[in-house]
């Protein structure tokens, strides 16, 4: 978490989580006031990702393999990436409104409250409908795990959930870092989409599809490869196009922690640079 405890340490982190729960709870109750709309938007979120996978299935009505990968293999990549991104989107998706808040001056209100700003902005307008994406991701993941013929080992069984949760944290770090950028470039919310939605789209397809430089960038610069490519390719027993030792697949939690730390620093820098518009 980017929130830096000022002495209380653990208890303040717990306070932050409690505050998140309270704010999110409030928004859940408020969305439930328009129940029909809630059902429609949840279904919409579910369908939006379904369409993504339908497009891939339509591709496979013409070919047997894409970049050397079969449909179930791509479903594994897709399921892991979509679920991980869905988790980050559910918990931190509201962060992309930070530029708007700076512009209209409502960020000032958050600064005076005794709750970390990051928690307040992230939990603001908490949208339960975003579970639609997670559900769809899990369904595709489930399909892949059932259909694929994998020689399971305890390590592989452990790796899938580990990678999905860590992947969620990696995407979460991207959300936080992207929001920190908005303190400097107010209208740049869309840059974030390139790395969040764009990242998910990229990870849905096997690395063999993309240019070597792009794969390197996603492995070493913005380490999205740890969300699905590296762990999934280990599970499938396939070689990664960039030469790396096998055990790297298990580094997702470490990578996630590193990303979280950097994103936290970026957030603090952004918040410190913040000057109210005074409106």
């Amino acid at each position: 978490m980017a929130y830096a405890p000022r002495g209380g340490g653990r208890s303040q982190a717990a306070e932050g989580l409690r505050a998140y729960r309270l704010i999110a709870g409030m928004w859940i109750r408020s969305t439930m006031a328009y129940r029909a709309s809630f059902v429609m938007t949840t279904l919409g979120n579910f369908l939006s990702t379904v369409f993504d996978f339908v497009a891939i299935m339509l591709m496979f009505s013409h070919v047997d393999a894409l970049g050397g990968y079969s449909l179930p293999e791509i479903a594994l990549l897709y399921g892991m990436a979509a679920t991980a991104f869905g988790l980050a989107d559910l918990l931190l998706g509201s962060l992309d409104r930070i530029g708007e808040r700076v512009r209209d001056g409502t960020l000032d209100t958050l600064l005076v409250r005794p709750v970390p700003v990051l928690v307040q902005v992230a939990a603001d307008r908490f949208a339960l409908r975003r579970t639609g994406r997670i559900i769809q991701g899990l369904m595709v993941l489930g399909y892949a795990l059932v259909v694929l013929d994998i020689e399971w080992t305890p390590l592989k069984v452990l790796l899938v959930p580990l990678a999905v949760v860590s992947g969620g944290a990696v995407f979460g770090a991207v959300y936080v870092a992207g929001s920190a950028l908005q303190f400097f470039a107010l209208d740049a919310a869309e840059v974030q989409s390139s790395f969040t939605y764009g990242g998910q789209t990229l990870l849905q397809y096997p690395p063999t599809v993309f240019a070597r430089e792009l794969v390197r960038g996603v492995t070493f610069v913005v380490p999205l490869a740890f969300v699905s490519w590296l762990p999934a390719l280990y599970v499938l027993g396939r070689e990664y196009p960039v030469a790396l030792p096998q055990w790297v697949a298990f580094l997702s939690p470490v990578v996630a922690a590193g990303c979280g730390l950097l994103a936290g620093l970026a957030w603090r820098t952004g918040l410190r640079a913040y000057r109210s518009t005074g409106s």
Binding site: Y34, A36, S37, V39, M40, T41, L43, G44, N45, L47, S48, F51, D52, V54, A55, L58, M59, S61, H62, V63, D64, A65, L66, G67, A185, L186, D187, A188, A189, E190, V191, S193, S194, G198, T201, L202, Y205, T208, V209, F210, A211, L214
Partner: protein
């Protein structure tokens, strides 16, 4: 007529104000262009001439999609949020008192918006795409002209659809749901996720006959020189026909809806 020209110019200028957002959006369109282009390249490597396109044409389709995504508001984000808000708050009553036609007023503004996005967010990704991939760009100036006509018609169809969707706010308390379902259908049936000539069988035939194909599939085929002569006239007629039908439907719904408007004094 002058008033609508002013409104259109206003729509253009208003979107031109957000310079940083335009740069950010152009960046995003370019990133997505690259991701999709690589996946299509893998697809066409397996099956050259898929859907009647060669690889260069498929690459061109990808970048046209990115260029027209905002122009035709395929993911929403046009005037519809504002119109819905005005309906919800009752401000729509003021609009109805204006000596201008409600539908034409919003159409003019949306055309201005589309023109800005075409220039501001269409040209740069297309140019970067042309540098990175081999694209099939038209040689004849007439093809470019025909493409522009097709894009304008596509924007009008897109407007007509979104106008209908926005009017739903007269009956719904919260329009977020319809908006979302509307842009999802638009995204899928415009060819943005996959060219419609790759949709198999009946699904493909239905998709190509629906109004959303006027957003991307038809302009792209015009650009790629797939529709010439009478076929080009047919393409224009298809787009104009849908534009007319949907605009008339919007007009009808508007007159039904405005009878519901009650102005409260006080």
């Amino acid at each position: 007529m002058r008033v609508y020209a002013v409104v259109a110019a206003g729509g253009f200028r208003r979107h031109a104000t957000y310079r940083m957002a335009t740069v950010a959006g152009t960046f995003t369109n370019t990133v997505f262009g690259f991701i999709v282009a690589y996946t299509y390249a893998a697809l066409w490597a397996e099956r050259p001439d898929l859907g009647g396109y060669d690889t260069a044409q498929a690459m061109t389709f990808v970048w046209l999609g990115q260029a027209l995504l905002m122009t035709c508001s395929m993911m929403g984000g046009g005037f519809e949020n504002e119109l819905m808000a005005r309906i919800r708050t009752g401000d729509i009553a003021i609009d109805l008192y204006r000596p201008a036609d409600l539908q034409l007023w919003w159409l003019a503004g949306d055309l201005g918006r589309a023109a800005f996005h075409f220039l501001g967010r269409g040209i740069v990704p297309m140019a970067i795409g042309a540098l990175a991939f081999e694209l099939a760009l038209p040689v004849s100036p007439w093809t470019w002209l025909a493409f522009l006509v097709s894009v304008v018609l596509g924007v009008v169809v897109s407007f007509a659809v979104r106008f209908l969707v926005a009017l739903a706010a007269f009956w719904l308390l919260d329009g977020a749901g319809v908006l979302q379902i509307s842009w999802l259908t638009g995204l899928f049936f415009s060819g943005m996720l996959l060219p419609l000539n790759l949709f198999p069988g009946l699904l493909g035939e239905v998709a190509r006959a629906l109004p959303w194909s006027a957003f991307l599939q038809v302009p792209a085929d015009v650009f790629l020189g797939k529709r010439t002569g009478w076929d080009l006239v047919g393409a224009f007629a298809f787009q104009a026909g849908w534009a007319l039908v949907l605009l008339l439907a919007g007009r009808l719904l508007q007159s039904v809806a405005t009878r519901r408007v009650v102005v409260q004094g006080g």
